[in-house]
């Protein structure tokens, strides 16, 4: 069946470094992708989205890259801060919305 997955379950970075979180998807019909951030004890928070007619979209300190050829999505966080520590997960949407299990990002001071 179709699936949304993440390459790494955990990621640890030094404060100030850039972070890259990856996501693989297998449904070639998916045309809309979202990254969510979930802090401990809280609900998921929308970060950024991208549609399949784009390959890059930038927000404040975050960039999402979409490579439709290899069905790969990534979230880049610039100058990672302690407040960025959370679980990040991607979602893909075609006929329905599917969520990945998440990557836990830990920022070391």
């Amino acid at each position: 069946g179709e699936s949304v997955g993440l390459h790494l379950p955990t990621l640890s970075v030094q404060e100030g470094d850039n972070s890259i979180i990856n996501c693989a998807y297998s449904n070639s019909a998916s045309d809309y992708f979202i990254w969510y951030k979930q802090e401990s004890g809280k609900g998921p928070q929308f970060i950024i989205d991208i549609r399949s007619n784009m390959d890059k979209r930038q927000g404040q300190r975050v960039t999402v890259l979409l490579n439709k050829t290899v069905k790969h999505l990534s979230l880049q966080i610039a100058a990672t801060q302690p407040g960025d520590s959370a679980v990040y997960f991607c979602a893909e949407s075609g006929n329905d919305m599917r969520f990945g299990a998440g990557t836990r990002l830990t920022v070391k001071p």
């Binding site: 969510y36 809280k42 609900g43 998921p44 929308f46 949407s93 075609g94 006929n95 919305m97």
Partner: protein, 118 residues
């Protein structure tokens, strides 16, 4: 800003009890969703609703029912709670309606209810 609220942050119930989880959104969104979130499994869709009094089964509807009597409110009901329903329950809403077409819109989540069934 979209605000999605859930009636309880933490809930402890006993096996066999009837449990109601309430969700309210204040942005006049058409679609509302109930998910459960378990470690390593991600979000799994239980039920969703694209209009008042309308409901659709998600991936794991067994043991659950829902009610949407008003546009802003979507309730999840566990008729007879079991220990395997211990989980984090997340409610979400999105703007667009129109059945499955609305599922593709950005979903905004509530803070979650951590339910423990003893």
């Amino acid at each position: 800003d979209v605000k999605v609220t859930q009636s309880s942050r933490y809930l402890v119930k006993r096996t066999g009890e009837k449990v109601f989880l309430e969700c309210v959104q204040d942005m006049d969104h058409e679609n509302m969703f109930w998910y459960r979130q378990d470690p390593g499994l991600g979000l799994r869709l239980i039920y969703f609703s694209y209009d008042v009094k309308m409901k659709e089964k998600g991936d794991i509807p067994e043991g659950y029912s829902v009610s949407r009597e008003k546009k802003e409110r979507f309730s999840l009901i566990l008729e007879s709670a079991s220990t395997n329903q211990t989980s984090m329950y997340l409610c979400a809403s999105s703007l667009f309606g129109g059945g499955l077409a609305g599922v593709t819109d950005t979903q905004y989540f509530g803070p979650g209810t951590r339910l423990t069934v003893l």
